[in-house]
Symmetry: C2
């Protein structure tokens, strides 16, 4: 009996150990299953974050002084920075201290001004091909959001709330950047799913062929129509006993749904695809 | 003819001056019309911000280490602060530099750690009675949000994203604080509307009588049901060709609408009323 009892106890302890290690959460640093399905889920959820962030930014008017480098006074004092730029730099530094950029999903706009993290290391899943992971279009996102899209989602005016305005811009910028740079993960998932489809074009460093392989117009159209719908659903005035029917004018919503449709169609989707192409070009390095 | 011409020119110039001063925007520092209607509008819009912020916080799991003072290591090093507390202190300092707390609508959680603003002064409207404006329940909001409500809107788990988690908490805390402390403006608008209704109770420093004067159960019930509805509308998975009908289980939404109903009914509304009472008690000082 004794050996069987010892065997049973050992077996029980082994099971207990396995369940405590694998049961509650993934092993640290272990690659979670990056699949086409997990990527699709992430992108769909990010749409909500992006639409919320635009609606929250639109709560404040344009507030032009926040973007004017002369507003804070002498250019020498703040190196000619606008309030928004100074705000984002310093807030990113605080977020870096708290470990935000240890997760490769997150990319800062001002990496040179980062302080190192105070938080103990956390092994985030490492899904990306090392040689391709550094694809970065933050500069373009910053410029095109501020100059191109912001005027389209805000009304003219100045209410003096520059800090909440800058904070709202940062949330928009971070959500857009996370979505666009997630193109690296999208490309990795597609590549893992069917490497043979991409290898020839990668070896030939053929951008056009890669872009063609990554383009599914029907799918892109569905995404554009869905974010337009989200702008209607999330940007309506909810009142009791009345459900929005999706009709209505641009002025019925907190951000014009047509602008959100174009933001995705003309910018977010093409930028994400550009990131995918740049990533794949380095996928065999 | 000459005097009439001079008169006409002067009249024209006067009109031009008036329109340039008053037309585009309010006069700086001038009191905007604080009315029961403007207060109602502000509170209704804040509901959207609060529901969005809760949904965005619920994107991340509980992430308990971010709230554990022992997580950052030796207590002496960070004065026993949790990552979230350190994060909020330092982010508030950046926001103070950008002028956030110059607007009396905004109140920081850690005023002792503020740096002074770099932004040129902006004359925000001064609507509050000076002796009563300092009513402050930030400590209670901080504690009850973190200990009481956060566990109800987040799932168990730890994904290591402590900085985005802390950033999402700060957005929730700021929105809740702005709403609750707006009780000062609600009380001021009600007082201005009918001072005679309140003067006796204020002179007697009678809290119960003031609370009774400020309580409209039908109205509170409508607000609770509206925020529950907003949690359903904003927290649904929007898909093309399908509109949510407001039915469904708690699990169909990103934050349980019943929790949002209770958050308002059991906490936000009573806290706002408490702020109103405290404000009115000092309204004749």
């Amino acid at each position: 009996m004794a050996p069987r009892l010892v065997f049973s106890v050992c077996w029980f302890l082994l099971l207990l150990l396995l369940s405590s290690v694998c049961g509650g959460r993934r092993l640290r640093g272990e690659s979670t299953a990056l699949t086409l399905e997990s990527v699709r889920k992430f992108l769909t959820r990010e749409e909500d974050s992006i639409v919320f962030s635009l609606i929250e930014r639109a709560k404040y008017p344009r507030n032009a002084p926040a973007y004017d480098p002369s507003y804070l006074g002498s250019p020498a004092k703040f190196h000619g920075l606008s309030l928004v730029e100074l705000f984002v730099r310093e807030t990113e530094a605080v977020q870096a201290k708290a470990g935000r950029y240890e997760n490769p999903v997150e990319i800062p706009f001002f990496p040179r001004h980062m302080t190192s993290t105070l938080a103990p290391p956390y092994d985030f899943p490492n899904e990306l091909h090392a040689a391709a992971a550094a694809v970065n279009v933050s500069g373009t996102i910053w410029r095109e959001y501020l100059d191109g899209w912001l005027p389209q989602i805000t009304s003219q005016g100045d209410d003096g709330n520059y800090a909440p305005t800058a904070a709202a811009d940062l949330v928009c910028l971070q959500a857009l950047s996370r979505r666009i740079h997630y193109g690296r993960y999208v490309a990795e998932a597609k590549y893992r799913d069917a490497p043979q489809d991409y290898n020839t074009a990668i070896r030939a460093q053929d951008r056009d062929a890669l872009m063609k392989l990554l383009t599914f117009e029907g799918q892109e159209d569905a995404v554009k129509r869905r974010v337009e719908e989200k702008a209607k659903v999330f940007g309506q005035d909810v009142t009791l006993g009345k459900r929005a029917d999706g009709g209505g004018n641009a002025t019925d919503y907190k951000v014009d749904p047509v602008v959100v449709y174009r933001l995705y169609g003309d910018w977010v989707i093409p930028m994400t695809k550009m990131v995918q192409v740049e990533y794949l070009l380095r996928r065999l390095d």
